[in-house]
């Protein structure tokens, strides 16, 4: 990697959990597999009612175990998978070493976390479910998505002035 590429990677890593660490380049159609995973993911979101405003309200009122069960078992399976990947040094399907990015702590985790939690309870959706709701035909949610994009944009604008 040359210096400008390194700088770019650093910037993409900044406050973002998902970063393309791979140095390989593939023909464009290799990206279709992410679309397929997304489709399956979207179906689970809707069918398990994770994208339901009502289920989120139940969660924050301790009226239902459903969402806790989902998040808890997802973490359990995710953690076990990562443990296996690390333990047996499993590689990607292209033979690369798997890189897991974890973020250092900053105060934004607390302030931003509280803000997102408030938005989550009001809209009844985190970013993934917002997109799934749009897919179900709830066109008004497009306004929520645009609003979320503008929220992200204003964060980018004010970033240097916010406590981190």
């Amino acid at each position: 990697m040359n210096q400008s590429q390194q700088e770019d990677l650093k910037k993409r890593e900044l406050d973002a959990m998902c970063v393309n660490e791979s140095q390989l380049s593939h023909p464009w159609y290799h990206n279709i597999k992410y679309l397929v995973i997304g489709v399956l993911f979207g179906i689970v979101f809707v069918k398990a009612e994770i994208v339901s405003w009502f289920r989120i309200q139940e969660m924050f009122r301790l009226q239902s175990f459903h969402m806790y069960g989902i998040i808890g078992s997802a973490i359990a399976v995710g953690a076990l998978s990562i443990w296996i990947i690390r333990k047996f040094k499993i590689k990607t399907m292209y033979g690369e070493d798997i890189v897991i990015v974890t973020k250092p702590f900053n105060k934004g985790v607390i302030f931003g976390g509280l803000m997102f939690g408030i938005g989550w309870a009001i809209t009844g959706a985190c970013p993934g479910p917002l997109f799934a709701q749009v897919g179900t035909g709830a066109s008004v949610v497009l306004v929520t998505v645009l609003s979320a994009i503008s929220g992200t944009w204003f964060y980018g604008l004010l970033r240097d002035k916010l406590p981190h």
Binding site: M17, F60, F116, G119, L130
Partner: protein, 188 residues
């Protein structure tokens, strides 16, 4: 078989399937599971406006936008082909509480049609629910560096303690908003 799929799926099926997304994305292309960054990539692609935070090669993160496009398509497919068409069954206390705010339409299991609709968009209540809520999601996730998928599932799975702190703050914010803030908004 189709009838089983059309019923709401239980948590012990859905949760593990979502957890499996973590190794799936790592193995097919070394991608760290996360969704909210897609909002940042949209900003970088469409309205960077010279802001340093949006000046990066977003095309290298195109996989994330395709993943999100897939979620939209998945939502569509689930509704068209796997819908049972039944009303959502919710906790009796919640039903009573919502009735007090005039929310009685449960035909759409995913959103409260009485307050989140095009008709309501230009009322104060609708604005707060749709526009302000969305803004908080977009601003908050980026400020925190991730959302439920990136922090709560991917981060905690990787045993990263800042992600645990983030998740506790998500839940705290949610509890405050659902129990103290939302009753005020919905009473407007």
């Amino acid at each position: 078989m189709l009838q089983i799929l059309q019923q709401p799926w239980p948590w012990y099926i859905a949760g593990p399937l979502i957890g499996l997304t973590v190794p799936a994305l790592l193995i097919i292309g070394n991608k760290n599971f996360g969704i909210s960054s897609s909002l940042r990539h949209v900003c970088a692609a469409c309205i960077p406006a010279g802001i340093d935070y949006f000046k990066y090669e977003w095309k290298k993160e195109i996989w994330n936008l395709l993943f999100v496009l897939g979620i939209i398509i998945g939502g569509f497919l689930a509704t068209v082909y796997l819908s049972s068409g039944e009303e959502i069954i919710i906790h009796e206390n919640l039903r009573t509480e919502l009735k007090g705010y005039g929310i009685t339409d449960f035909s759409n299991a995913l959103i409260p049609s009485d307050v989140v609709s095009w008709n309501q968009l230009f009322t104060l209540k609708g604005m707060l629910m749709i526009v302000l809520g969305g803004f908080f999601v977009g601003f908050g996730t980026r400020y925190a560096g991730g959302c439920t998928s990136g922090h709560s599932i991917m981060g905690i799975s990787a045993l990263s303690w800042p992600s645990l702190v983030a998740t506790i703050c998500f839940m705290l914010g949610g509890f405050i908003a659902a129990n103290l803030l939302l009753p005020i908004i919905l009473s407007l």
